[in-house]
């Protein structure tokens, strides 16, 4: 645009850049850690997938740019970009052979270099270069294939890799007699997707995706022709089906997956609460974990049968108290920061969150809160004779709370108060001039958000059976903020999507847990640049964030994303 650069130089530059990314991923330890997870047994591991992916992207970007002409040139450029990635990776392998990098980089282990060079060390370099060039060419091919061909291929590939990635989960689900077991044996061997299984999954998903590409329009037309009540029935029916499926999950999936889902639910609850404060009212609160802690400690102190328990209430009596206490705390911590705006508010709330954590941890309050040992001996909730003993039972508690909170949040959003929140988010001064009482509106946002956080903390306390100050670090606030941002600020389905991705995924794939905050950090930065409205945006936020862009594009200052 500004300066003309030769396309092949651009291709090599892209290749070197993405090669740098591949080296970063290797040195940070991801390649080695992920190498343990076989996507297709004996053929392809997640660790290998990372450098391969960088070469694909390099090839795609290296080939893009100049439209038209024969397909030969982009292919060559893509291969060049891929080879550049390979060259950078090879340089790392050579360097690793020359000096002992491990005294500095803990992940620069022989296993990592083996994973990068197909187990051959420096003699594997020609293979690395060739392989990377080939992969780069594939990436380049993706840039000029027509959508009708490309989309089913990409879908099929993602399904295959997805099935390989989640093989453990699927094997648990298919662990039964009869037909399910037969499917399992067809697709999987021991601890991963077999080559036969991969072929079957690929063929099936490719076929169905191609059929959908051809016939999908007809289905959509049929749906469009239905009358409004009929569409409504269809929608309610599918919603009912989804709810029924959710209710059956713990029975089919067992304790591990239920535990993951309980965590996802807890973070979704926190997310829904923070979403009111950040997403609806636009008040960036980094001390949100404080209310989670207050809810947990209230339930802990009120119900505990251990040393620090006060009254030994039942869970059901303690929860409303915990929610009320959190709500009051939300108001009390909200009042002082009413006059603070924007980024200063973020730092002030962060300060409050830290103050509360340090106080809870200190020896000063130890006689009441148990210091770093925390409050132990919190009994599980009971209804009649039914005890919420393990994750399978707590799942229903979490699900019910989520449903309740989603309902409340939806009603709030569509109420007069909700509209006032959005007005404050868009522009405080204008909102005030329109007669909105900023004090009330902001305090209601803090209070409602805090109440939901407290509810989540209450369930968290009974889930663990104990509360420790170490569970309430700032990282929780960051975690919740990340899932809101990734899902889409102000969007409730976005919160669910965000917590499935950012909480569920690292729990299911333990390799990710190690790099959780690295990935969150990268996700926050990337989301802000590429898709600030999130994966599942709320309409208003999307419009707002792209308004300036449209204006800029119109005046020729800045192109669209």
């Amino acid at each position: 645009m500004s300066r003309y650069r030769r396309p092949w130089i651009v291709a090599v530059q892209k290749g070197l850049l993405w090669g740098g990314v591949a080296v970063f991923l290797a040195l940070v330890g991801m390649v080695e850690t992920f190498a343990g997870r076989q996507l297709i047994v004996g053929v392809f591991s997640l660790g290998l997938a990372l450098p391969v992916l960088t070469a694909v992207v390099a090839g795609y970007q290296g080939a893009a740019g100049q439209a038209g002409g024969a397909h030969g040139a982009p292919l060559v450029r893509g291969a060049l970009a891929g080879a550049a990635v390979g060259a950078v990776v090879s340089a790392l392998v050579v360097l690793g052979g020359l000096v002992n990098m491990r005294s500095m980089f803990v992940s620069a282990s022989p296993a990592m270099f083996a994973a990068l060079s197909f187990g051959r060390g420096t003699s594997g370099i020609p293979l690395v270069l060739l392989g990377a060039a080939a992969v780069g060419a594939v990436g380049a091919a993706a840039s000029f294939l027509s959508a009708g061909v490309r989309r089913p291929l990409v879908t099929a590939l993602s399904w295959t890799l997805g099935v390989g990635l989640f093989q453990e989960l699927l094997q648990i689900l298919l662990h039964a007699e009869g037909a399910r077991s037969a499917v399992r044996e067809l697709l999987f061997i021991e601890d991963g997707l077999s080559i036969r299984g991969a072929t079957i999954v690929f063929a099936l998903s490719w076929g169905s995706s191609t059929v959908w590409a051809r016939r999908g329009g007809a289905v959509r037309q049929w749906h469009g022709r239905l009358s409004a009540p009929q569409q409504r029935v269809l929608r309610l029916g599918s919603l009912g089906g989804a709810v029924a499926l959710l209710l059956l999950v713990p029975l089919a999936a067992g304790p591990f997956i239920s535990q993951v889902l309980v965590l996802v639910g807890l973070f979704a609850l926190l997310g829904l609460g923070l979403n009111i404060v950040v997403g609806f009212a636009g008040l960036l609160d980094l001390g949100y974990v404080a209310f989670f802690a207050i809810g947990a400690y209230t339930v802990g102190l009120l119900t505990s049968v251990g040393e620090y328990g006060i009254v030994g209430l039942s869970f059901w009596a303690a929860v409303p108290v915990a929610v009320a206490v959190s709500l009051v705390a939300g108001v009390l911590l909200g009042v002082p920061v009413l006059g603070i705006r924007g980024d200063y508010l973020a730092i002030a709330t962060l300060g409050f969150g830290e103050i509360i954590r340090i106080l809870v941890l200190s020896d000063f309050l130890r006689p009441w809160l148990g210091g770093s040992q925390g409050v132990l001996g919190i009994p599980k909730p009971m209804i009649g004779g039914f005890e919420f003993r393990g994750p399978e039972q707590l799942f229903y508690l979490t699900l019910a709370s989520c449903a309740l909170v989603i309902f409340v949040a939806m009603r709030l959003r569509d109420s007069r108060l909700g509209r006032a929140w959005m007005a404050v988010r868009e522009d405080e001064d204008v909102a005030e001039a329109m007669g909105i009482n900023l004090v009330n509106v902001k305090l209601m946002a803090f209070a409602m958000g805090a109440a939901f956080g407290g509810l989540s903390g209450a369930i968290f306390a009974v889930m663990l059976g104990s509360v420790f100050p170490h569970s309430f670090q700032l990282l929780i606030s960051i975690n919740v903020l990340s899932l809101i941002i990734v899902g889409g600020m102000g969007s409730m389905p976005g919160v669910i999507v965000g917590s499935l991705f950012l909480v569920g995924l690292p729990e299911l794939l333990r390799e990710f847990a190690e790099y959780r905050f690295l990935i969150y950090g990268a996700a926050l930065v990337l989301m802000m640049q590429l898709r600030p409205e999130g994966l599942w945006p709320a309409e208003a936020v999307k419009r707002e964030l792209h308004a300036s862009e449209e204006a800029g594009a119109a005046s020729g200052l800045r192109g669209g994303v």
Binding site: S362, V439, V441
Partner: protein, 371 residues
């Protein structure tokens, strides 16, 4: 406020009713609460101070030690705070990842220092080797900050205000966990320098050598920076950009360059602070930048954000408060292990300054202005 509040608003709090009496028309429940907040904090401070002084448990030398420690700690905060203040002054953005810029300098400095320590060069030629470590720390921090500006912040200029802040929070965690992935999650021990062990007697007071070095080095660097900003052409350009970006651009100042230099200079100060921090505390860790980062931000706000002498003053002030405060304010109240609560003092100061005097000691009121 003479605007009519819509009658159907939320009857949870009825401020209007309580505000109607003529004498207290502007005095709302919120004000009452804030006054109570001030009075409680003030009461704790006064009561605690009196209690501590009456108890006479600490002799004069101990207090001098606290003050010197506070000054050395504070000069480190001041060096970090300069980065916050310069970036905020120009971009009106909190560079949340600045604490990690500080950490990266200290961390890479460690590898050089450890290599010197193993070869024995550190003790044979302490001045040269410490200067090399300092240079490495400053260069790394600067490189990281420039990368950060280019990759994470520059594409977001002109976005709504929370967008760059969220990106900065993301960048902060990305950097922390990248360092954790590279170098492991443990503490790394900085090698001891023989020359800096023990104390020097300065004006009849025994001062730990490391602390003396830290204070002197920090003051020299701050003077240098101040001269750079006030005397050089580049510094003038930076000040012009922070006054009014558009007008500066119209006057032919390269705004991008001024922003990059603000990041670079702030980061090199943070790198130096990282080196000094490691001299005093003798260990590095991937999470070490977070708390000092927040505190340095507090210092910057305390001094008036955007104001360079303010940041220096704020840093020293915060360091003093933090080292003297726990004993002076809290010990007298009979609080067990008051030193555990030193961060509470720092964060309370942060919150109080943000609430009651967001313009800080020396700054003008920037907060209400909307970027």
């Amino acid at each position: 406020m003479s605007l009519k509040i819509p009658s159907g608003s939320f009857p949870l709090f009825n401020w209007e009713a309580s505000v109607q009496s003529s004498l207290m028309r502007r005095f709302t429940v919120v004000d009452l609460y804030l006054w109570a907040f001030r009075i409680v904090v003030l009461a704790v401070v006064v009561w605690g101070t009196i209690g501590t002084i009456m108890a006479r448990r600490y002799p004069g030398e101990v207090w001098i030690d606290f003050v010197v420690y506070g000054l050395s700690q504070g000069s480190i905060y001041a060096l970090i705070a300069l980065g916050y203040t310069m970036v905020y002054g120009i971009l009106r953005m909190i560079n949340f990842a600045h604490g990690e810029v500080f950490m990266s300098g200290a961390y890479t400095g460690y590898f050089v220092a450890a290599a010197f320590g193993r070869s024995g060069y550190l003790d044979r030629n302490p001045v040269v080797s410490l200067l090399v470590v300092l240079a490495v720390a400053m260069i790394t921090s600067t490189a990281i900050a420039l990368l950060l500006e280019r990759v994470a912040y520059r594409p977001l200029r002109g976005s709504p205000r929370l967008v760059p802040l969220i990106a900065a929070i993301g960048a902060s965690f990305f950097l922390q966990y990248a360092f954790r992935g590279f170098f492991g999650s443990g503490f790394q021990a900085y090698p001891e320098t023989q020359v800096l062990k023990g104390t020097w007697a300065i004006a009849g007071i025994n001062i730990l050598r490391t602390q003396a070095v830290v204070i002197v080095a920090a003051v020299l660097m701050m003077l240098g920076l101040y001269a750079f900003v006030m005397r050089t052409k580049t510094g003038t350009a930076m000040r012009a950009v922070s006054e009014d970006r558009e007008a500066a651009a119209l006057m032919g100042i390269d705004v991008d360059r001024a922003i990059v230099i603000a990041f670079a200079v702030g980061a090199s100060m943070a790198g130096a602070a990282g080196f000094l921090y490691a001299l005093v505390f003798k260990q590095v860790h991937f999470f070490m930048g977070f708390i000092p980062g927040i505190k340095a931000f507090t210092a910057a706000v305390l001094g008036g954000i955007g104001n360079i002498p303010g940041a220096m003053l704020g840093g020293l002030f915060l360091g003093l408060f933090e080292s003297v405060g726990p004993i002076l304010f809290l010990d007298g109240l009979g609080i067990v292990a008051p030193y555990q609560l030193k961060d509470v003092i720092a964060f309370t100061m942060l919150v109080m300054v943000l609430i009651f005097r967001p313009s800080g000691i020396m700054g003008e009121r920037l907060v209400v202005k909307k970027a």
